[in-house]
Amino acid sequence: MHFAMPPRKTSRPPPYAARNQSGRIAIPPALRNLLRTRAGQLLVAGVTCVFLLIWLLSGGGTSSTRAAKVGGWTAASIPKVAVGTGPPVVVVTVIDPQADPAWIDKIRNNREEYAKRHGYQTFFPTPSQYPLKSSPTSWSRVPAIRHAIALYPGCTFIWYLDATALIMNPSIPLHTSVLAPPKLESLMISNAPVVPPDSVIKTFSNLKGDRIDFIVTQDKDGLAPSSFVIRNGEWAKFFLDAWFDPIYRSYNFQKAETHALEHIVQWHGTILAKLAIVPQNILNAYASGPASDTNGSFNEGDLVANFPGCDRDARDCFKEQHAYWEILEQGGK
């Protein structure tokens, strides 16, 4: 190719070629020549020897003379299952064996159908399996979740759902439509008082969805641990064990585990930092009872309809839920 004019010379001259290749240590030529001579090599060797000697003499410190062998523990052969390799969600419902067996069957079916549809697992323990001692049976949900983690160590989430609640919209897959980080970030209520109307402790406002380990809702009175999700992991063990501490169970909190939960959430930052509060109808819409004013009552299409307290006193869950069972059965057909 021919140009009219030869290419212009640059206004900035290229740097002088380095004498040494870049990356090598620049040794002055005189010194390098010295290093090439025998005397120079001897000198360098001598200096190195002196430093080596000093280092050897100064010593790395005496180790203890008495190594009392008391332990000698070795790695235990416990199969370690990575979180995320199992089912995405395990649905846990503690079932009181003294309740109406027909109702229990229906509740079980309700969970199992939902789980089958999305590839989840279910777990239905009874309170008598756990060392509750004299504390109310409602505490059994805490060890039940721990139990589910032990049974499904590879699961990602545990969803605890009270026996009083029905899954009304089984087409909603929990792990993608609620628990996926971006979805969760859009749902969670940040900077809101943990206990409604005026707790000074508020949820953090700068949390990321993938750092959330505990998703719960609020009803009118406060936190509603009748339906909540916990991410499987070390934090879950810490949280559940702290919650289940006998010191809280023996304290006579008015509402047992609910108030204990409100207490630990408000007093311990490592727990509050993992908490996300989502609108009540996402996880725990109330068909009856003290629902949150803004978004607590059940509307068609909500995932869950809860009848809090229907298993207590002289109430009958089966009867109260009758209309909802019918809707479910019609939907099924």
Partner: protein, 448 residues
């Protein structure tokens, strides 16, 4: 067509520039000119950013390169036998000439000068050696000393509760001096904390429960440290030549036990058997890996002892420090929990299963020997009490404020430690003086 590029005039001719730059020659602008429509200023800024090729690189930029020639030429040389030496060699070998010259002069001045030089050089080397050694021991990739922080509680119980007398001051002074020397030698960090009782909390609940806050503050203050070693005031490091690394962490499997049944003064049921717990929590030793140990606690005859213990920076520790103090627990137990954090931790260890897989117990004498009077009057329990011949690491004069003589004990152990760790020269001197005093005594006896 302007041939003079002006950096100030907003010169912008990407086309021209690009064709030139891509013309095969290696130029500093190659990186900047990949995108078109660049102004001169932006291209220059970008190439300055890249810094792949500095605009002008004079050779020999370092100090030695700059000055070597001047130093070497300004030194006196004898040029008499240059011809003979230089034959067949590069003529620029001035350093060699300098050295041979020095050597020859030394030889001429005989060994006196050499001796004087040596005498001057040795202390210099020694000094530089200690400084060198300290940096060596401190650096995280060589000695690793900066990974350890010693937290020393000073002023325990002082402040509003009682006044400190001269003895208390002396104890504190000795204890602090001892740890300062130790941490300086090994390149650890020392954090001295004032534990005087203060009305720090408005509700006064948390009075003297500051261990947790203190450890947390230390973790914030030393963000690169890994292990934090808590020490009470009434402790004395008997063997400053033991490093924590060698003494504990390099043999951690042997000097610690994770199965509390090995020594179980509190009769804690272990392992947990509840079927709702996962296998790791139910295991005797957790998962049995070294990384899962986040806390090293000694046990004395009465159970856990938090007078000298280690915690590691970890998520687990963060949670533990957070849950350690709880108002509900405090309200129910503060009368019962005489030893505050220590009792609370014992309680948590028993009742919160998540803690067990991450706690290892360290054999008491490995980290905290007791003097006679603590856990037995005689002081002869080989698992608990200080043994001189085994050269135990540290003495914890636990409980000396309850009817024992703290200062007396501190003094005794300080003297003993000094005696045991004499230098060879001191041993030699002591040996000599012993020898003579014995002789004199014998002669006295003979005379009598």
């Amino acid at each position: 067509m302007s041939r003079s590029p002006s950096p100030h005039g907003g010169w912008s001719s990407p086309g021209l520039n690009t064709s030139y730059d891509n013309g095969g020659r290696h130029s500093p602008y190659v990186k900047g000119s990949s995108s078109h429509n660049v102004t001169w200023a932006s291209a220059q800024a970008r190439s300055a950013e890249v810094k792949g090729y500095p605009g002008f690189t004079p050779r020999n930029q370092g100090f030695f390169g700059k000055h070597f020639r001047r130093i070497s030429t300004s030194l006196p040389f004898t040029h008499g036998d240059k011809e003979k030496l230089g034959r067949g060699r590069p003529p620029a070998n001035k350093m060699m000439q300098l050295l041979t010259h020095i050597g020859r002069t030394l030889w001429r001045l005989r060994k006196i000068v050499a001796l004087v030089l040596l005498v001057l050089l040795i202390p210099m080397l020694r000094n530089s050696n200690t400084a060198l050694r300290r940096t060596w021991r401190r650096s995280p990739w060589l000695g690793g000393g900066s990974k350890y922080v010693v937290i020393l509680a000073a002023n325990q119980g002082g402040g509003v509760m009682e006044w400190k007398g001269p003895r208390e001051w002396a104890i504190e002074r000795d204890s602090v001096k001892n740890k300062k020397k130790y941490t300086r030698n090994w390149g650890y960090d020392l954090e001295i904390v004032d534990m005087s009782t203060k009305k720090r909390y408005a509700h006064e609940w948390r009075e003297s429960w500051e261990k947790v806050d203190t450890i947390r503050n230390a973790m914030r203050k030393y963000p690169h440290a890994e292990w934090f070693w808590w020490l009470d005031t009434n402790t004395f490091i008997m063997e400053p030549t033991y490093s924590i690394q060698n003494h504990i962490f390099n043999q951690i499997r042997d000097v610690t036990y994770r199965d509390i049944n090995i020594y179980n003064p509190l009769n804690i049921t272990h392992p947990l058997t509840d079927e709702y717990l996962d296998p790791e929590t139910r295991s005797l030793v957790g998962d049995g890996k070294i990384d899962s140990v986040n806390m090293l606690v000694p046990q004395d005859c009465g159970g856990f002892n938090l007078g000298s213990f280690l915690v590691r920076r970890s998520v687990w520790t963060d949670r533990l420090l957070d849950i350690w103090w709880d108002p509900v627990a405090y309200e129910q137990k503060h009368m019962e929990w005489e030893h505050k954090e220590q009792d609370a931790f014992e309680y948590m260890y028993q009742n919160q299963p998540w803690i067990r897989p991450h706690v290892a117990f360290i054999q008491q004498r490995q980290i905290m020997s007791f003097p006679p009077g603590a856990c037995g009057e005689k002081g002869d329990d080989p698992n608990i009490h200080y043994q001189e011949k085994d050269r135990d690491f540290l003495v914890n004069m636990a409980g000396c404020e309850w009817g024992r003589d703290c200062w007396g004990e501190m003094y005794k152990y300080r003297q003993l430690s000094n005696h045991l760790n004499r230098t060879y020269w001191e041993k030699f001197k002591d040996g000599l003086s012993d020898f003579f005093t014995r002789k004199v005594k014998k002669e006295d006896k003979k005379k009598n």
